[in-house]
């Protein structure tokens, strides 16, 4: 069991956990993920490590409620425990001195770019962060990123905060600025967003890395369920990635494969609606979220 040291709402339906996992913490580098089984009998889900503290022996995970598993996980509080946490998995981000790097995070994807910002800065890069959200409350980690980055641009789809529009619009502005040429882009978030980002940078041939989120089971290369087509080849996101050259990723296939279990996911989530104990806790958690 992996004890939860801290558990708090970061945005509506987005929760941040600090979890005791000393071995994972001491090996974590930006880009790594863990496989979590939140409770006995639960699914194994991949979650990018958003931060780590080797002294405290802990890692930080940011989770968005998108189904039954994540909804149940987001009801866990400090001193509760996750059944299983295994990692750090995947290849770490290749941190080089690119010059000017723009990190683009969408929704909880911002948690993926956060540890990269720190490592890239330490390598001497100029680091710009662009974080997107539906509206103001959905933009996460702004204060944390401000401390690390040279410039930070929150964006909202509805214009309620920061740049009015999608992250692609803001990125387009940044790469059009001759005063500060962009040498590399790293992006994490919903697949349509990453696909759009790749399209923005493709023409200018700006190196663009996307952190992919396919369905996984074991996370160690054993099942092959996470295969993605990159540069015409099938690769396993868990051991060959999860970060790939975005210009070579077949996003259409990734998008499609992510829908394979939608029917089952809906059925399991629907079943949870009849679970009174769960619903009771959910109401309480949502009230706590509103109070924040």
């Amino acid at each position: 069991m992996f004890r939860i040291l801290k558990s708090e709402w970061l945005a509506p339906k987005v929760r941040r956990f600090e979890v005791e996992a000393p071995r994972v913490a001491s090996r974590h580098r930006p880009g790594h993920f863990v496989i979590v089984r939140a409770y006995s009998g639960g699914e194994r889900i991949p979650l990018t490590i958003a931060d780590s503290d080797s002294k405290r022996g802990s890692i930080t995970l940011v989770v968005q409620v998108i189904g039954a598993t994540t909804e149940r996980m987001c009801l866990l509080k400090a001193d509760d425990a996750l059944s299983d946490v295994v990692g750090p998995l995947g290849k770490a981000t290749e941190i080089e001195n690119f010059g000017h790097v723009v990190l683009v995070g969408g929704g909880v994807g911002t948690a993926v770019i956060y540890p990269q910002a720190s490592a890239l800065k330490a390598k001497g890069n100029r680091v710009t962060a662009v974080m997107g959200g539906r509206s103001k409350p959905y933009v996460i980690l702004e204060e944390e990123l401000k401390k690390l980055c040279d410039a930070v641009y929150p964006c909202t789809d509805d214009g309620s905060y920061g740049y009015n529009g999608f992250v692609t619009g803001k990125l387009g502005e940044l790469i059009a600025d001759p005063a500060l040429p962009v040498n590399a882009v790293i992006t994490a978030g919903p697949v349509p967003m990453m696909k759009a980002i790749a399209n923005v940078t493709r023409e200018k041939k700006i190196l663009t890395i996307a952190s992919l989120n396919p369905v996984m089971v074991d996370g160690t290369g054993m099942c092959g369920g996470c295969r993605v087509t990159v540069g015409g080849k099938n690769l396993f996101a868990c051991v060959d990635g999860p970060e790939f050259n975005a210009h070579e990723v077949d996003f259409a296939s990734l998008t499609d494969r992510l829908t394979a279990y939608r029917e089952h996911e809906r059925a399991v989530w629907d079943k949870l609606k009849d679970d009174n104990d769960h619903q009771c806790k959910l109401q309480a958690a949502m009230a706590e979220d509103r109070a924040q």
């Binding site: 089971v217 160690t220 290369g221 054993m222 099942c223």
Partner: protein, 469 residues
């Protein structure tokens, strides 16, 4: 009893759950011999002088000895003889390919059917599990520690043998549950999880520690185990790893699985429970599995139990070249699996929404013998035909998992990425031993166990030598 009388006894038939019933559930197919049949079967052993059967056993069980004990009704002694050579008899009694090992060399089998050694092994192991609390004698503690990487058959065997020799053993498992292929790969109907759990518990009772959720090569490195964690030696048995895909068009359609993924979802993650399980698996009316090994049989029989009609097995060679155990092939046919031999998939076809709708196959003929001595299958031009299905499962082998090997400088690998181990199981790094599929590529449970046992001896000698040096 005279030998001539013994030879008149017919080989016992394994009681089985009827095919039409078992094709609907995941309970065990083979029900085990009842005491009277086991006793009778034990009388078929002639206790011949050469006892060649023992040479056919990768872990060297005293086969005539334990069978004689069954014949004398002393099941406790039979169990002790089994456990002396094999810490997992309940497992091997169920999944070993006896027909190509001990039973193939059985003298009785030269004239008629061989003694049912596997059935008797299972009988004794099951009796011991229900009637004995502790059957293993442990040597005094040596005060030395050994790490084992992977809790599959090789790792568990090595851990058990080392515990018997008095070592303090810790097994590191990457998944959340110990057992390796015994829990993620081999289905419940062939090897109930409860048996694996119990065998694991026996090891824990012997003092073996098991830590799940640790990936060696990611969470800790081999160097960490030897230095920071201070283990005297390490046995690497992390399995075969990455599934091979045939690299044919359409493999990313929804409904295409590696056998590893399909079986892991159903077995380890309990997806056979349907909406009651969090982890899903796609079912489909028609399911096609490609491959000829035990994994292919496990996948297609699993599909059948999940309602596939038809459940089709395609294999590019003919049935007699199939590497699967004879019993699995026989059971699969009884359960209504359709066999399409000398057939190879060339493409997976999908509908507009990206779901599998059929597999395009090609008929094969048999040409000249190839490097394996088997006649090489050659495609027959113009023989393509489509098999409608919604799920397509590839069971065409695995390649070595690079997670540990890439993170371990100085570890010598062969051209396929498998670890090279010497006759004692030791690798190019002193104190690091290896066995099972990471050394052999895809092989069997019992060969992995044989490696685990050999490495335990190798480690014992190595640690004795380093202590006296």
């Amino acid at each position: 009893m005279k030998a001539s009388e013994r030879m008149k006894i017919q080989r016992a038939a394994m009681p089985e759950c009827p095919p039409d019933e078992r094709a609907k559930h995941f309970r065990e197919v083979n029900l085990g011999l009842p005491p009277d049949l086991a006793s009778l079967e034990s009388k078929r052993c002639l206790a011949c002088k050469n006892h060649e059967c023992v040479a056919g056993c990768p872990v060297g069980i005293d086969i005539p000895g334990f069978i004689a004990a069954v014949d004398q009704g002393d099941l406790e002694r039979a169990a002790n003889l089994l456990y002396a050579a094999n810490v997992l008899p309940g497992i091997t009694g169920r999944v070993c390919p006896q027909e190509t090992q001990c039973e193939e060399l059985c003298l009785v089998g030269k004239k008629g059917k061989p003694v049912a050694i596997g059935y008797l092994e299972r009988y004794v192991a099951d009796w011991a599990r229900n009637n004995l609390t502790r059957t293993v004698q442990l040597a005094p503690a040596t005060g030395k520690t050994v790490a084992v990487v992977g809790s599959g058959p090789a790792g568990l065997t090595c851990a058990g043998e080392l515990a018997k020799l008095g070592y303090d053993v810790t097994v590191f498992e990457a998944l959340h549950r110990p057992g390796g292929v015994l829990v993620y790969g081999i289905p419940e109907f062939r090897l109930p999880k409860a048996i694996v759990d119990q065998e694991v518990k026996t090891l824990q009772d012997m003092g073996v520690k098991i830590e799940c959720n640790v990936v060696i090569g990611a969470t800790l490195t081999l160097a960490d185990l030897l230095k920071e964690e201070g283990f005297g030696a390490v046995f690497v048995a992390n399995g075969a790893g990455l599934p091979v895909f045939q690299n044919i068009p359409g493999e990313n359609l929804k409904g295409v699985y590696s056998a590893n993924e399909y079986l892991t979802r159903v077995n380890l993650m309990s997806a056979y429970l349907g909406a009651k399980a969090d982890t899903p698996v796609l079912r489909g009316q028609g399911v096609v599995v490609v491959g000829g090994g035990n994994t292919a049989m496990d996948a297609v029989r699993t599909a059948r139990r999940l309602g596939a009609d038809p459940a089709v097995l395609v294999y590019r060679r003919s049935e007699k070249e199939m590497p699967a155990r004879v019993e699995e092939v026989h059971h699969a046919k009884e359960e209504g699996v359709r066999f399409e031999m000398l057939t190879n998939p060339v493409a997976v076809l999908g509908d507009e929404a990206g779901w599998v709708r059929a597999v395009r196959c090609q008929r094969m003929g048999l040409g000249e013998p190839d490097a394996s001595g088997r006649r090489k299958p050659v495609p027959i031009e113009g023989s393509e035909f489509d098999v409608p299905c919604q799920v397509f499962i590839e069971a065409v082998g695995t390649k070595s998992n690079p997670l540990l090997t890439q993170a371990t400088p100085g570890l010598n690998l062969n051209k396929w990425g498998n670890i090279i181990a010497d006759e004692n199981g030791m690798t190019s790094i002193p104190g690091v031993f290896a066995g099972g599929d990471i050394v052999r590529g895809g092989a069997t449970v019992i060969l992995a166990m044989g490696d685990g046992k050999k490495a335990a001896v190798g480690i014992h000698n190595y640690l004795n030598k380093t202590a006296s040096a």
